[in-house]
């Protein structure tokens, strides 16, 4: 893309992202009101329902006796000031609770994403190169199998094998508090705790990316410029790496960007299995306590993360691939 047209493109994409985020806030607002019972009960969570004073305060704060549009405005204003509500159960602001847990989730999803994309592209490329051989069949079957396995069950099976049976890796939490480790020792401890959850979360998407890489590589391999390269006498390995794989990678990256949201969703299951102290675990705890404010906060933050990630992918894509239309 010509650089002079980039600002307009950027502006449009940012506006679109803002629209999506606003729609999510409205969505949360509507959910509070669509839920059975008094909106104040929903916001307080069932556990807080016994405290009439707090309910009265909520009613006043959110103007629950005023028309719906006024209430929406109050709610929107709150969210825009990064006030995601108050968890009566935890006696803390929802935004703070989430921010405390966010780094752990980013570490987990980031590691899982790296495992998925590098492993998936490598496996897909290998399968495409050896198409029709036993290596291709094995990779296809493995991908199909991971595609059909529930994430949380994979996690439990890995725990069974690597923690219970082989006793190689820890299966609980993010670090061992009894070690009192700091610095490098702490990093090593966290890395060990990270292996199983990151692999669990990564395996499913690894299967997805492997299938996609294989399919796009086979598609690209049929195109004329590849035949030309071969006809010119470019060595087969180079044709695959420099011509086929490089062109097959862009759709995979785009797809990965779109899938980012599912990765965050999957981390709820993985963090629950491994007691990983991120926002997924926070969501699960909120679920058990019926703490809806926290749950909605998690929904909001994960959606914002996805929107930001999509924006980043679009931008990278537009910079890398000159053919992308400024639409």
């Amino acid at each position: 893309m010509e650089l002079s047209r980039l600002p307009g493109f950027l502006l449009r994409r940012v506006l679109k992202s803002v629209a999506v985020i606003l729609a999510i806030v409205v969505c949360n607002f509507l959910l509070i009101h669509a839920a059975p019972g008094d909106p104040a009960t929903v916001m307080a969570g069932q556990s807080g329902a016994a405290d009439p004073q707090y309910m009265e305060q909520l009613r006043r704060q959110f103007g629950l006796d005023q028309p719906l549009t006024t209430q929406l405005w109050i709610y929107l204003k709150g969210v825009l000031q990064l006030d995601l509500g108050f968890s009566h159960r935890q006696q803390a602001g929802v935004a703070g609770l989430i921010m405390d847990r966010l780094p752990a989730t980013l570490l987990l999803t980031g590691a899982a994403f790296l495992i998925a994309i590098s492993g998936g592209v490598a496996m897909g490329a290998l399968a495409a190169r050896r198409v029709g051989t036993w290596a291709d069949s094995v990779i296809t079957v493995i991908a199909l199998a991971f595609y059909a396995t529930p994430l949380f069950w994979v996690g439990l099976m890995l725990v069974l094998l690597f923690s219970v049976y082989l006793e190689w890796l820890p299966s609980f939490g993010m670090s061992d508090p009894s070690l009192n480790a700091t610095g490098l020792a702490l990093a090593w401890d966290v890395a060990q705790h990270l292996v199983l959850p990151a692999v669990t979360l990564g395996l499913f998407y690894l299967a997805v990316y492997a299938r996609l890489t294989r399919a796009t590589m086979l598609e690209v391999a049929d195109q004329d410029f590849v035949k030309t390269a071969r006809a010119k006498g470019v060595p087969e390995g180079r044709v695959l790496r420099a011509h086929v794989l490089r062109n097959a990678l862009l759709p995979v990256i785009t797809f990965a960007g779109i899938q980012a949201g599912q990765l965050v969703g999957g981390s709820i299951l993985v963090e629950t299995v491994f007691a990983w102290p991120g926002i997924g675990r926070l969501a699960f705890e909120a679920l058990l306590a019926r703490d809806y404010q926290v749950l909605m906060g998690v929904f909001f933050i994960t959606s914002v993360m996805v929107v930001l990630f999509n924006l980043l992918t679009d931008l990278l894509y537009a910079l890398i691939d000159p053919r992308v239309e400024v639409a």
Partner: protein, 278 residues
């Protein structure tokens, strides 16, 4: 018939179809195979597989794991089928509207679809089920709400390409009502990708249901595979069988549906069957 023959040439698809029939049989025969409620104590708690007359062992409350799996199959298949039917209905309605009318309607519907594809669907499903209290209805509704967008996209694309074909124009010239054209002329021709998508969506709906019930968001009155795994999770160090067997049930069923979907896709689009490409 031709379709069936092409489908049968796909070994994976046949294995998938037979497996699914077996799961269906177990689900239907659950009350015959395991008389009595799956929630009742059937033997000593923590019995390993094969002991106390229980093929797959018992859980921490002495409930028969095999009976739980058989009754769970009913819930999984039912939720998978109904939520997929609902999501197809929503997706076809919106996709047809966008593809047939085009213009502003198309724009609006596609923005709406994109929005649903952007937000993290699993988090939304959790939120919906939690707020509307877990029940079979809220679970089916939540799964349908998060899984219609791909259907809408596919249907829209089909409608866009079909609506300017001669036979559609002929029907328009003959004065056929638009709703009749959509239902009797265009939709039947767009059916094959919808059917493929339906089988793949059923597979992911079953996965989604198991994830929800694993987190404790299952219908409290119905035994389900995710619930079995969720309740066996805390004692996995003592009793592996409580979490292993229900997981295998999910795996086998979902894999069967995926294989059927691929077989259908190949059988319905023989032209697309390039070497190796899916």
């Amino acid at each position: 018939m031709e379709l069936l023959r092409r489908f049968a040439r796909h070994p994976g698809a046949v294995v998938g179809a037979v497996t699914l029939l077996l799961v269906l049989a177990v689900a239907l025969l659950a009350p015959v195979l395991f008389p009595g409620s799956p929630w009742d104590m059937a033997g000593a708690p923590f019995s390993p597989p094969g002991e106390d007359g229980m093929l797959l062992g018992s859980d921490s409350l002495g409930r028969d794991v095999a009976a739980g799996i058989a009754y769970g199959a009913r819930v999984s298949l039912l939720v998978g089928a109904v939520s997929t039917a609902v999501s197809i209905l929503i997706g076809v309605a919106l996709g047809a509207l966008a593809g047939y009318l085009g213009g502003v309607v198309d724009d609006a519907v596609m923005r709406f679809t994109e929005f649903f594809q952007t937000i993290p669907s699993f988090v939304l499903a959790i939120l919906l089920v939690a707020i509307f209290t877990p029940s079979i209805t809220s679970i089916v509704a939540a799964i349908a709400i998060v899984s219609w967008p791909p259907v809408a996209r596919v249907v829209r694309a089909e409608f866009l390409s079909l609506r300017n074909r001669e036979f559609v124009q002929a029907a328009e010239v003959l004065g056929k009502r638009p709703i009749a054209i959509v239902l009797t002329d265009i939709l039947p021709n767009a059916l094959s990708p919808i059917i493929v998508l339906a089988s793949l969506n059923t597979a992911s709906a079953i996965l989604l249901e198991s994830s929800l019930s694993f987190l404790g968001l299952g219908d409290p009155n119905l035994m389900s595979w995710g619930f079995l795994i969720g309740s066996g999770r805390s004692v996995i160090r003592l009793a592996w069988w409580m979490s292993v067997f229900p997981g295998i049930a999910i795996f086998v069923t979902v894999l069967a549906l995926n294989l059927i979907g691929e077989g259908l896709s190949d059988a319905m689009n023989p032209r697309l069957r390039k070497r190796g490409a899916r």
